[in-house]
């Protein structure tokens, strides 16, 4: 007969020696793994189970392979060390610490989630580790650099801040939905998250300037699964277009929007709709959905865009999410900075990263300076990076803005009554 009180003690007797042996084995392997000739190591922290997060590590590996095929950096190979943070800030911080202290990386590229990037940022400051986020959007990331430059200067924001994303969407809506389709009103519909707070603030400021009166501003919990009440409320307000700010959700509101025949178009930022699997995930209910993105298949934003997209599709079977493009650029930007600095000294790297003037896959990449409002954020504007607006049409992402990059025209399925 087993006494229940003995169980923990027996468990401990069983567990402790095994745990010690395992720890010893692990420490031995990591000691043995340090190579003699050192490549330049870049830590890449992604979210492997989400489509956007998995693009980060894949694109980073492609960039490293390309750089190494062209002789590496100052004769040294680039090695990507990938980590998965499971969309968790604490996992990401642990991965970051491990990258710096154990794996001795020279720079870190991490995450598309603002909460995660914001959790890593102070560690980048404390450990003097150059860090670029290729996909997070919160304006707080660059605000911290601006407010305490000496501390936070190691952080760079490799994707447009929420404020610029909103501005880009306002510019798009002004050029097409207002000018061509004569829309006059909108409702802002955003998930409640760190990246949408500045996004919505900018929406509320720039949408009226773009010619759209904001009838309502709805923020909802990212855990929401039933969007019927939200669409119901919006429909009752009769806007001409719904302006979205969604990333954690996407498939569900899109499918319900379609199934309930909500007669109002959706445009804005719908990050899940930037991925090529979105059509399949929604069974084609994505028809007519418009979203901002970094780049789109088949559109040559720069000479580098299409070759990268094609190579990515060939290697991984689906096209990169928006942060796949930026990650690919960021690895090159870090490699170039190390090349110019002639070393991996973090302060020298920061100085060189600030001088970045690189034509990548998403446009011409430069970072704002110490005196600018968004220090170390990606510069936004024509001739730099503007992003594109794509619309799902017959299973394909068609680029509809900016005009000079567009390969199709905006069009809506019959169920959409507004805008005309």
């Amino acid at each position: 007969m087993i006494n229940s009180k003995q169980t923990p003690a027996r468990l401990a007797r069983w567990l402790v020696p095994r745990a010690v042996a395992l720890a010893a084995a692990l420490s031995l392997t990591s000691a043995a793994a340090i190579p003699a000739a050192e490549p330049i190591k870049i830590g890449v922290i992604g979210e492997e189970s989400s489509v956007a997060g998995a693009s980060i590590t894949k694109a980073a590996q492609m960039a490293a392979d390309d750089i190494n095929a062209h002789g590496g950096v100052n004769g040294r190979q680039v090695e990507i060390i990938a980590y998965d943070d499971h969309s968790s800030s604490s996992d990401a911080v642990r991965a970051f610490q491990r990258a710096v202290t154990e794996d001795k990386v020279s720079a870190v590229i991490a995450s598309y989630i603002s909460e995660v990037a914001l959790a890593i940022e102070p560690w980048s400051a404390r450990m003097h580790m150059p860090f670029i986020t290729p996909g997070a959007a919160s304006t707080d990331i660059s605000k911290h650099v601006h407010d305490d430059y000496a501390q936070y200067k190691y952080t760079f924001h490799g994707w447009l801040t929420s404020a610029f994303i909103a501005q880009s969407i306002c510019d798009f809506e002004h050029d097409t939905i207002v000018k061509d389709l004569h829309a006059k009103t909108t409702v802002v519909m955003s998930e409640d998250a760190a990246w949408t707070t500045p996004l919505d603030a900018q929406y509320l400021e720039c949408l009226p300037k773009a010619g759209l009166k904001v009838l309502d501003h709805i923020r909802f919990n990212p855990d929401t699964t039933d969007f019927t009440p939200i669409f119901n409320k919006i429909e009752g307000e009769h806007p001409d277009v719904i302006t979205t700010g969604i990333s954690h959700v996407g498939v569900q509101p899109t499918v319900q929007w379609h199934d309930q025949r909500v007669p109002i178009a959706m445009a804005g930022q719908s990050s899940q709709a930037t991925t090529s699997t979105f059509w399949k995930d929604t069974n084609g209910d994505a028809e007519g959905i418009i979203t901002a993105s970094a780049a789109a298949p088949g559109v040559a934003i720069t000479p580098g865009t299409i070759p990268f997209t094609d190579a990515y599709v060939k290697r991984f079977g689906s096209s990169p999410a928006y942060d796949g493009y930026t990650t690919y650029d960021d690895v090159h930007i870090i490699a170039d900075a190390i090349k110019r600095a002639g070393s991996t000294d973090p302060d020298k790297m920061v100085t060189e990263l600030e001088k970045t003037d690189y034509v990548g896959t998403v446009g011409k990449v430069q970072f704002y300076g110490q005196g600018d409002q968004y220090t170390h954020a990606l510069k936004y504007g024509p001739g730099l990076v503007t992003g594109v607006d794509i619309q799902w049409q017959n299973g394909k992402q068609v680029t509809i803005w900016p005009r000079d990059k567009a390969n199709g025209k905006i069009t809506f399925p019959a169920a959409i009554k507004s805008p005309h």
Binding site: S49, V249, V251, V255, D281
Partner: protein, 291 residues
Amino acid sequence: MTALQILIDGFAISALYALAAVGFTLIFGVSGVLNLSHGGIMLVAALIGWWAAGDLGLGVYGGTLVGILAGLLTAYLTYFVVVRPIQRSRKIPREETEIFVLTGTLLWGIMIQVGMAALFSDNPVTMRPLIRGVVDIFGVRTPKNELMIAVVCWVVIGLLWLLINRTRVGKSMLAASINPRGLTLLGFDLSRIYFLVWSIYGTLAGIAGVLLASFLGVGTANAGQLTASAFSIVVLGGLGSVSGSLLAAFVVGYLETITAYLLNPTLRPIPALLLLVLVIYLRPQGLLGRR
């Protein structure tokens, strides 16, 4: 207008909740198992169904069947790999079996969730609706699929009622929930009854998973929430009471819908949880529970 909208939407979601919770309460009633991998099993049905319908090219009906089958197989796996070994283990003290089953199924559910996320990514997916199109009910534009889901749920629940109350095996299941020892003394094989009840449970969870995928869409992140909602419905209705679960499913479904429409969609789950706390204080056996 809004009232009618609440009535219709609340009815569909409540019916789906009821279907998902009935199986959950049944295995508790008959075999004393609280299966915390419930959401995981629904998830498998939804994702495999979606995958079979699209990638395997089986279409929506084929996908639905494969999804339900996947739910059933996962339920069997849960029973034979996790639950039964724990119940039969001589190393686990009798009085702690339930805690071990609870922990075992919880961990199993997490394993399913992480495994599915690795296979299918954490993007939510949606099954193509069995019927497309909308119908106008006194000015409320309602997807036909939503109505059909409510009907299917009630038909399945009705069949379950017939099975339990009108057939010999059903009655032996009922007897097992009241007095398992008496039943063994009468010469019934309990393990066969348990197998049967897990079969019913797996089928119900499979149907609920596939229907949910075609109604609201399902992603791996939803697994915990699905378990929690079934669990709170079952506690609210009274653990093991099938009719209590049906009643509680409608209370929770309508409370959530009313909150979402009249207060704020963000507050949706809160009033139902408050009610649950109240019930635990004032009537711990649940609305219709006996123990």
